[in-house]
Symmetry: C2
Subunit: 200 residues, 2 copies
Amino acid sequence: MNEKTRQRRPAFDREAGVAIAQALFHERGYDGVSLADLTEAMDIKPPSFYAAYGSKAELFERAMLRYAQENALPLDDLLAPDRPPAEALSALLLAAAKQYGRHSLLRGCMITEGMRANDQVARQMARNLGNGGLQAIRAYLDQVHPRGAQALADYMAVTLRGLSAAACNGMSRKRLIEVAQVAGRFLSREMDADQSTSAS
Amino acid sequence: MNEKTRQRRPAFDREAGVAIAQALFHERGYDGVSLADLTEAMDIKPPSFYAAYGSKAELFERAMLRYAQENALPLDDLLAPDRPPAEALSALLLAAAKQYGRHSLLRGCMITEGMRANDQVARQMARNLGNGGLQAIRAYLDQVHPRGAQALADYMAVTLRGLSAAACNGMSRKRLIEVAQVAGRFLSREMDADQSTSAS
DNA sequence: CGCACTATGTAGTATCCACTACATATTTTA
DNA sequence: TAAAATATGTAGTGGATACTACATAGTGCG
């Protein structure tokens, strides 16, 4: 249990290996990274890899969890119930645009893009993780804007996926942010109008 | 030239082969379809395949061109210059949503999703084709709504990509259409407001 | 009818894939 | 210090990949 005292030969740091895998998977996607790529980047041999992580898919899951903890959008903060809903959603889109276009290599959302893997196991892992975030948005909207919550949540899902895809295809951070701002302005207008009128 | 009289042993119809490939590539993506899948579906052997199409990537390009001719959104009609711009863009989003969710297997935009292929050659082919459509939207906006044309074109690109991605991930046609309608309403509000005021 | 041509099927190529059996070297425990 | 446990490196597994050399069967043209 006390892994701290265990001064075993460094061999290799498994958490560091997860971080390396996270970067590779984020940059090239699950299918774009081979086991040879991973073992070379970690400077280990395949047997050590499997002893440590079990399989490529399991490591991908650990890398996505690490990504979620480190890089995922802080939905709980952004979607605080006491914020004006349109402002909260706009802030979420803006935060996503900023993050998706931040690095030149690590573009888009690792989890959103992971949903497109050719490997079925990896794809399902990514979907399970990604759906969690979407459900959080849905739950938030059910509370603060129950009328049309589904449509608004779907709009957010589509826009977030679009931002991630556009980022992966090279759209600059500046332009991503502008799109998020446009969408945020749309949301503000729509939800303000929705407060005063009852039917379009 | 007169291919009709050429009663050559049926062997196999190359255009029909492109159609088969189009369906397979659309359903599973470039990397998700192997040469064995293609030759089996066309009921031919690899040598016939290469004699007819040159390579997997070349066939993918032909399949995308076929898709563009048959299924791509009729941008010229949708983006008629004499239409109210917001209405034209809304119609484009709606047409995309309807098409992306039409079939249960052939979901999303074949070209947009092709941009995510792991194979670099295929990816570049898809990007070249897809960028054509986006440039058409940009050119249209430069004409009818020059102020903020870039931001609006980027917004359309992001939303179209998002609709395609959401369709691939299983969002129902009904919900896709609702998202397109929400976005269309946003565009109408924004562009109407933009006509009367000069600063937000 | 016979020759030249073309597309075909058989059977492979080399390469990459994720993954593993086995013996060795290092570390922890007794 | 000796034995047990563990992670390592060497080397290789079967299978899938895109693609092809070669002989043959079917074709149109003379």
